[in-house]
Amino acid sequence: MRLTCPLCGERDRREFYYYGAEDYLHRPSEGAPLSEWDSYLHLRDNVAGVVRDLWYHEAGCAQWLVVTRNTVTHEISGVELVAERAK
């Protein structure tokens, strides 16, 4: 498996660290109801298809990346920098 880092280019899987679902980028605001925190921390969909995950390029540019991939076909359709994503 190879990921194309927007800065470093195409790199081997071993340079990256997997963190989890993109949901971690959407932290509930202060005072949000408990159900939202519950969902943020614990509830994940187990999708057969396109998912968005957080990866860390730990042996390269040390940037957090959002990787869009397909769990059925293993196709990787996008890699974006978390730092430069549209908010």
Binding site: C8, A59, Q63
Partner: protein
Amino acid sequence: MPDLIAKSALEGRSLALGGVTLAEVDPGPITSIALYPGGTKTAAKGLRTLGLAMPGPNSFIEKKGARIVWTGREQAFLIGVAPPAIEGAALTDQSDGWAVLALSGVAAVEVLARLVPVDLRLAACPVGTALRTQVNHMNAVILRTGDYGFEILVFRSMARTAWHEIENAMHMVQARAGTKI
């Protein structure tokens, strides 16, 4: 203050095997330049006094013994000269934190191919390329300094490990050179 003696990590050692030479080099001062948000313009002005600019990803620029190396998003290492006054960026002295190894020779690329998970052949990695990647399990910055030459920056605490890994790979490449497949 007592007069302290600066010592390099590997006492300047060198090794030649199978036409490949590995040597520790003294890079001079190393300064990290990390841009503050919106600091691009003012930092560029400071670097212009050396005839340099912030390098693009995966590259380094050299001018009159001063070298500036891309080391990450909005970050670079200035190597070989004392830093000028630069506004709009955090400057930190990294000189003592790194060991620099020079690997040269026609088969140098084959030695690194055993350790580095990136294509370092000249077509994919021309002179002037700077990569942040791994040497086996060690994080490193690799510079393509010539058609047959590389410089490898590793954390100083990893200097002897890096030397050991590369020396092993040099032995392997040398042994392989005499055999027909």
